[in-house]
Subunit: 919 residues, 2 copies
Amino acid sequence: MASSTNLAQAAPAAALDEQPRAGDESRAVYFFGDGKADGTKDMKAVLGGKGANLAEMTNLGVPVPPGFTIACSRCITYLREHRIPDSLRAEVADALRHLEQVTGKNFGDPGKPLLVSVRSGAPVSMPGMMETILNLGLNDRTVIGLERASGNARFAYDSYRRFIQMYGDVVLGVPFSQFEHLLAAKRMTAGAATDAELDEQTLRNLVEEYKALVRAKTGGEFPMDPEQQLWGAIEAVWRSWTLKKAVDYRRVNGISEELGTGVNVVSMVFGNLGDDSGTGVAFTRNPSTGERKFYGEFLINAQGEDVVAGIRTPLSIDEMADRLPEAYTELRATEDRLEKHFRDMQDIEFTVERGRLYLLQTRTGKRTALAAVRVANDMVDEGLIDRATAVKRVAPEQLDQLLHPVIDEGIRAPALCTGLPASPGAASGMAVFDPDVAEQRAAGGQQVVLVRDETTPEDFHGIVAAKAVLTARGGMTSHAAVVARGMGKCAVVGCKAMSVDLQHRRFSIGDEVISEGEWITVDGANGKVYRGDLPTTPSEVVQVIRGTRNERTAPNYRAFARLLSWADEMRRLKVRANADTPHDARIARGFGAEGIGLCRTEHMFFEGDRITAMREMIVARDEGGRRRALAKLLPMQRGDFDGIFEAMDGLPVTIRLLDPPLHEFLPHGGEESKLLARTLDVSRADLSRIVESLRETNPMLGHRGCRLGITYPEITEMQGRAIFEAAVKAKRRGIDVRPEIMIPLVATLAEFENQRAILQEVARQVLGGMGEDVPYTIGTMIELPRAALTADEIATKAEFFSFGTNDLTQTTFGLSRDDAGRFLPNYIDRGILPDDPFQVLDQNGVGKLIGFAVSAGRSVRPQLKVGICGEHGGEPRSVKFCHTIGLDYVSCSPYRVPIARLAAAHAALEPTRPAQTTS
Amino acid sequence: MASSTNLAQAAPAAALDEQPRAGDESRAVYFFGDGKADGTKDMKAVLGGKGANLAEMTNLGVPVPPGFTIACSRCITYLREHRIPDSLRAEVADALRHLEQVTGKNFGDPGKPLLVSVRSGAPVSMPGMMETILNLGLNDRTVIGLERASGNARFAYDSYRRFIQMYGDVVLGVPFSQFEHLLAAKRMTAGAATDAELDEQTLRNLVEEYKALVRAKTGGEFPMDPEQQLWGAIEAVWRSWTLKKAVDYRRVNGISEELGTGVNVVSMVFGNLGDDSGTGVAFTRNPSTGERKFYGEFLINAQGEDVVAGIRTPLSIDEMADRLPEAYTELRATEDRLEKHFRDMQDIEFTVERGRLYLLQTRTGKRTALAAVRVANDMVDEGLIDRATAVKRVAPEQLDQLLHPVIDEGIRAPALCTGLPASPGAASGMAVFDPDVAEQRAAGGQQVVLVRDETTPEDFHGIVAAKAVLTARGGMTSHAAVVARGMGKCAVVGCKAMSVDLQHRRFSIGDEVISEGEWITVDGANGKVYRGDLPTTPSEVVQVIRGTRNERTAPNYRAFARLLSWADEMRRLKVRANADTPHDARIARGFGAEGIGLCRTEHMFFEGDRITAMREMIVARDEGGRRRALAKLLPMQRGDFDGIFEAMDGLPVTIRLLDPPLHEFLPHGGEESKLLARTLDVSRADLSRIVESLRETNPMLGHRGCRLGITYPEITEMQGRAIFEAAVKAKRRGIDVRPEIMIPLVATLAEFENQRAILQEVARQVLGGMGEDVPYTIGTMIELPRAALTADEIATKAEFFSFGTNDLTQTTFGLSRDDAGRFLPNYIDRGILPDDPFQVLDQNGVGKLIGFAVSAGRSVRPQLKVGICGEHGGEPRSVKFCHTIGLDYVSCSPYRVPIARLAAAHAALEPTRPAQTTS
């Protein structure tokens, strides 16, 4: 079957959907078989997910090979005490006797040998653990019994050599590759292409050679005693809990070290006993599309590992109706029953042994976002689940998949290189290396991908013009990444293998060179970059939002919108969008934004001839000169605000005053400087002197934010005027305008008061002069630790707070997001940081500051409106934190609004934990 | 007399030395005269300083002209209610009647006119307030009485015209300059060089012209009614409380707006009634040297304002013994009595009217640091004050004056330009523009001043070699400023008028050009830069500390050391020094440092060929290459540590691991790069690629601090090895070594643990291998908000905290100290910030974080040692804060250790305030 690597991870929340039920601590072993089991599906914490579901299926009467599960707690005990208690040995012995009784076979009995599989199974699905040992119980004597029982000597010895190989590797520590060498030698000697062509005698010889290998490597014989084999395997499962890969996974995913893993010992069934046997995997619904149709693959005469190995091409599950009709009928009845029982799409493994069906495993099926949304909708309609459950079933982050075009699944061209998947979606275009060229070519109707070392605000128009952005430097929150995500535009950043040669307008990866004009395709979902123009599919949801497709012809959109409407009923937290233009505002509203939480006015200055007026202001010699330039910007900015107010009719619009340092608006040398000097009628020497004088050592901590408005009050005045004039203009057209003016980078109350006084005076002049009253508020962005620390002072005057968590994270950590790429990935790899704090809000540090500021602010102004407008506003775990500490809203890029809506609902649905008592 | 502008401000603490005693709130007017007064010196809060001391002198029987004081509270009432209550009018009227009775003169009586002066006087000495109106009570009729009483018509009309001019300006708002125009016209008509040459008739005419001017400007007559005049003057005094200059001064100095000013109405005495009259100012001791000798100046036949105007040259007070012998004898007896009574050096104003002495004012005299220290010593010896009082009498910041050479007072060459006085002292040298040239010339025995746009760590050797540093850019805490202060080296920074032309090796200020090799003199005490080699005087204290002068020949040093030894007995807070070399450590110990609080290991890497090894490490291709380079650095660093341990025998030494980003060690282009490429045998292209790859957008927030040691553990290993090996080496010589290893820029516990594990392993290897036990601790620098916020986590493993308040201020404020110079001065000028937060610790924001971290840290480790090692460690207000929140020590540059010792004593002596109750 198709590997599941294309399927997104299921919501982690779903994995522990049901609250684990405590088991009996004194009991270590839980038996299942013969139609009844000691455990249930609600005992995942005790038995692990696999064990709990095997028990549940047994109780349901589903055909499951009998077996038993050793409780997870015993893993922890073993790892602490390094010994197996006698009581546990006794319990396992009892369970084995019970298993012998139920199966009618005996462990180590050459006549009717009982063979088992040993598999790990933790309470939470977790890669990195020991997987499976099959055919345990085989030895030189029982293999004969297996030969007799199966009537197939080749099968018996193949099973034996597989067991030795698997056990030798996993339990005894003999490298798997060394067994493979011996096997390969046999193939060569026999002139066999595959293992399947090796005959019985060869396999018998191979078994001896394997045993000799074990002897040579371990200094001892391969264990012949099945009990010894069993305990070896059990201990190996337990030890695998501490394998580095597993430890790392738990640390990164916040899984407790104290859970431990269960051990499932299950009697073997064989799908490889002939054409009346087989094995397969199936989903109760289509995991890619969510379609309500049984979906899966199987192989005749095969064992599980053959399916995974991919040597033979599996058949569609539909064909099983012909090939194994009885088993198929039972399988269909079983899968239907399992889905209804578990009330979720199931991913099942089964084996047919001589016509008889066995279920080996059932678990919640992983699915694409589309499937998740469709299944959630359908199951509500089918009465299987309620709306809250449907909402909880979809992982918020997954929704992103529904918004971005993807490269056609069929295409499997080799990637040129891989960078960071900064903004999902896929796009193709001709590589260009200059924002002006990008703009020109795009204006000429060409598709371009902007390729840069890294981008700056100067490149803005180039990003606007490009289909995608590709950079060699920068992290997930670099300028390119943030801007592209804000636009819902594909971006791959920090592609270190690339070497960009701006002079010759080309980039290279090793020997591969891509010159300007050559086509590349960028996949922002996985960070891959391809040569050529790979076909992509636009997202149905986005088509509807953009108005290029009718909702009636868009079932996926309808399912998406319906699920989110349920989420909206359940959440407390409002969701706004960060949007800087009327167009973005409309898109945001389409995605369900309940206002604009951050309108960055400076982005308006980068377009067209506005940048020239902006630059004129910057190079002006005095206030008069600045005011003349600002007068040119006023109508442009007023027009933008007017359009945004219109798009957000009836909803609040938070407008942030000019924030970046002025040098970001200036060209740094070259043709552009020459042209600018001519345009502004200053000497090139003067211009470069001005550029130089504005240069900053640490621009992040420099002359920016409200510091600009304090130094140049006329800028604040102009922006205030543009806001109030636009508000009046819109109001007169019947639009309900609700401006919230936000003063950036405030560190002290005095700064806030200074800017507020200017705005209030402008409001008095404009509103007074025009005879209109517009309700407005003035608040501040809390993005410096000092502002958070003095929130009780600032809130005496500020009417709202919006946490700018990007900058707040930078200053709290002392970490520049432009520079962090050099060591942050290494920090995360090594577990020094659990997550990139620019992606997932650091609750312990930055979050503590936010919590403090909220309390302090509300202590002096109980009705203080508080939101968040950093990148974290669209990240589910951060949204949950915002819900928990009582924020009023989160604001994120338009394309993340659906994610935030869903995450806010998840947060509201989560049971509130009782306050923890300190010991 | 010599103006007092050369004298440093007295300690602000001293101004309110005695706790103000509450007055009777119902009483508004306090009379003094005829040997007794309603007030006392302890009623400064009620009467203002001037009024309280006039009352005190009266009670002492000192001859003071009688008068009365209106309580300060009435100023506030008036400013709030904008009216004069009838009860106050009645009290003033009573006091006037009393005054008439005592003086035998009558207000408005042409026969025996009572004339008064009206002066402001707030509880705290404060510039910007209305000063004085003299001769109030004069009008067209009383002037005749004055003429008769004085027998001098010219005197009477001169007094009258002066009164109109002063009153017209201050009370009626007629510009002073317009009166001056009329006066100048009279001089021209009369052919007179000075006003003194104008005759009676001219003055009579002038009076009429003045009255006409008042009429024209105010539309009314100059008030003839003395009562109306008096209330006008009183209201003017009150209104002057709200003058911008006064408001600004109060805001900057943290003086309450609610104090208000008193109004002193005092009967006039005249020093200008002939040669048996005069006026003067005097100090009970020499305010420049502290010598116990009456010191002052006087003028015969003059009024107070004549002394200030400086038209006539005053005589030494000693000559008064001949000129006005009786008055002189009484003055000497009086000054002696006043000093004994007030137990501090007094600054007195007096007038002799026809042989009779009157004291017009006495107050605590401002003095130089030297005088402050000497007077404090002498007064203890004289039994006037106790040691605690002596310690409190000297302002910590003043001590700086005693440590730095000054330009000879006689020199008054015009300054080329003025920058920020970054590091006190004065030095001359030949201007050089390159650190290498500085080094070469200094090695050749030349004195040089390093002139740069701004300095970087690369310039370190140039700063070492130079006598002074002068930069065009940067603020009080720029690299140049910090490094220079750390060395006690003179620096003037941010000299904006300068234009530095590195290419031609010259700088210019307007048309003045100074080329390499020309002599300049830099005065770090006032920021002035002079052309030429101006003579300077080295500090006696520093000579003793450096061992170039014997203590026995240094009385100033002895007084200084004695005072500090008293301070040491009184303080709780320990004082350490920031020192990076054995030499600095010795100097620091000489200044009384009780350990090293910050040894910056990177400074060791900039010297000589160490930088080459350092660069070799940075450009190394792999860990092996880095280790080879580090092996070269190991013995050098070990040697430094050994020397420092020796200098600090028995005291703790806190060593900070490598902190700055690596690019700070690399050359940025030019000859040096070429040379380096050759030395390290890498291509220039490779070298510039490495330099480029290390470039950071915000180096302050970049790959530095423990982030380096985490990326390159071998650096931490080498530094740990150098520390432990040096410790063993020193210990074997019998030295008591106490290393404290400090991990910089920690944001998370995991970072700390990572570095700590490396150090512990190295310690195990080195100490184990050498068989020695050295007690050491591992702690961290708290310089990021996140570290402070998670102090309770970090303190579980860290044995000490040292607050790096420079960086903590940068991150808490989001303010780069390298860039803040562009707007911070403006912020302070406008009162948006009360102080430069890099100079004075921001208690409200940064301080809150520190307080939180101390509590959190000690909550998990009660014995946690906590100190501060930022620039603030030597700033008195910040030291006081450190004392208050319970830090164990402060650490500052060696030359600020005395300041910190004294400030710590002041903090300990300050009465702890009762907790404020909220209303």
